[in-house]
Amino acid sequence: MAFSEAAHSTAKTVLSGADLQRVVDRIAHQILERTQGATGTVLLGIPTRGAPLAHRIADRIHAFERVRVPVGVVDVTLYRDDLRSQAPRALGPTQLPPGGIDGQRVILVDDVLFRGRTARAALDALRDLGRPAAVQLAVLVDRGHRELPIRADYVGKNLPTALAEQVRVSLAETDGTDSVAIVPEPPE
């Protein structure tokens, strides 16, 4: 995604690279705490930025408690309910860990929780991929404006936003740098 100069200058940084790292650390700690050591747990990132986030959380969990949590990706494009509102989207990869997800506690990982439609699509996708023992949701940013009865179990940062604003999450793996910013108007 190309940054336009105007949009870039008015973007307000909410999390710096160091802040983002601390937030990921905290989510990793919370997962360890709430799952009693993250056994029987699988992290599934939702492309694009949920995938690297899931790997980062898994790496931090390993650093803290020497537990290797299996990581996968689940693309939800084919399960979206808004496909007909735009041109066909390119598909992302779906890759489950070798052990699958049956009987596991699956934690879905995404960058931004907004209307809740992506999370709903992910729940539908999971139903076709196996039968997890439980499903939880971890997000870096919860920006509000839910349209479905969905909430996250692990939230990096609650970010009150206006509907017209955009939350831009950048990660080193996908964008070359770590930050979270609010952009007032959708860039042209």
Partner: protein
């Protein structure tokens, strides 16, 4: 992607690559326990087949059903077409039934193009006479890419009845678009007039072409389309243009052998070659479903712009 898929020439390199990439993701669905996606729920796909076909029709049907579309199969035998209904009237009937896409196979070249003018939905050419069969070319390209890792720079020999082969026509266009070098090989009587103007080279000598080929695609001799005799005997044809194990041994180590099917063992391809590790014949059928899912998704999955 355009609204229709009528010809392999409709796709540029980026568009064709998009289809192949999408197919690669959709192929994973085939390995799952639940082989179904909700993506085309509520859409209707009509299979309109004026010519006999097993694998293409079943492949399209499986593809549409895996994406949760409703499928209506319409074959000309035993329908109003047998009573004399025209293509246009049949098309308008399908339109009135709310078809979002029509997959059409017809013995006349250009029939899908005519259909595209009459219908609001998408038209997919599943083979029109000796003209084009674009989804076969896409699944061939997909199979080559998944076996050999790339398409650009490869030499693909298409061998046999080039004259009557819509598969050869579509493959020549698509593989050229994707950067492969296509060599058409066959007896002079089965080489189309004006082949010099195609973006391909051609040869009458299979043995000369084999050592440099990365891919050999063996076409069936379509006797049902032949009013005249194009070669003296089947045995003589097989001797000059059949791929037996002696010829297969002259292929490069990595080279693969493809056939769009149905194959006639002992004529264009020997049984031991068709069943060898080089052969992708069964893979091509499986890949056909993934590629057709990709095409249906890209044509019907989004909103109309």
């Amino acid at each position: 992607m355009n609204r229709h898929l009528l010809s392999a020439a409709d796709l540029d390199a980026a568009g064709a690559t998009e289809v192949l990439d999408t197919a690669a993701e959709l192929a994973n669905v085939t390995g799952r326990e639940v082989k179904k996606l909700p993506t085309l729920r509520g859409r209707t796909v009509v299979n309109l087949f004026y010519e006999d076909s097993t694998r293409t029709r079943i492949s399209f049907e499986a593809a549409a059903k895996r994406l949760s579309a409703d499928v209506i199969n319409f074959s000309a035998k035993g329908s109003s077409v047998a009573k004399g209904e025209s293509l246009k009237d049949t098309a308008l009937t399908l339109q009135a039934m709310g078809a979002d896409a029509v997959v059409v196979r017809h013995s006349a070249a250009g029939a899908p193009h005519r259909l595209a003018h009459w219908l609001d939905g998408s038209v997919l050419n599943a083979g029109d006479g000796t003209n084009e069969h674009p989804t076969q070319a896409l699944l061939d390209a997909y199979t080559i890419r998944s076996r050999l890792g790339r398409l650009s720079g490869l030499t693909v020999a298409v061998v046999g009845d080039i004259l009557h082969s819509r598969v050869a026509h579509s493959n020549a266009r698509l593989l050229h678009t994707l950067g492969a070098k296509v060599v058409l090989v066959g007896p002079p009587t089965l080489m189309p007039v004006g082949v010099g103007a195609w973006p391909v080279s051609f040869s009458y000598d299979l043995d000369a072409v084999l050592p440099e080929a990365d891919v050999v695609m063996m076409l069936r001799v379509q006797q049902e389309r032949m009013a005249d005799s194009y070669f003296p005997t089947v045995r003589e044809y097989a001797r000059h243009y059949g791929l037996d194990s002696r010829r297969a041994a002259r292929l490069a180590e990595h080279a693969i052998v493809m056939a769009p099917g149905p194959i006639i063992r002992g004529m264009e391809i020997a049984p031991e070659v068709a069943d060898s590790a080089r052969s992708t014949i069964v893979e091509q059928v499986a890949n056909g479903v993934s590629v057709r899912m990709a095409v249906l998704y890209l044509l019907l999955g989004g909103g109309r712009q």
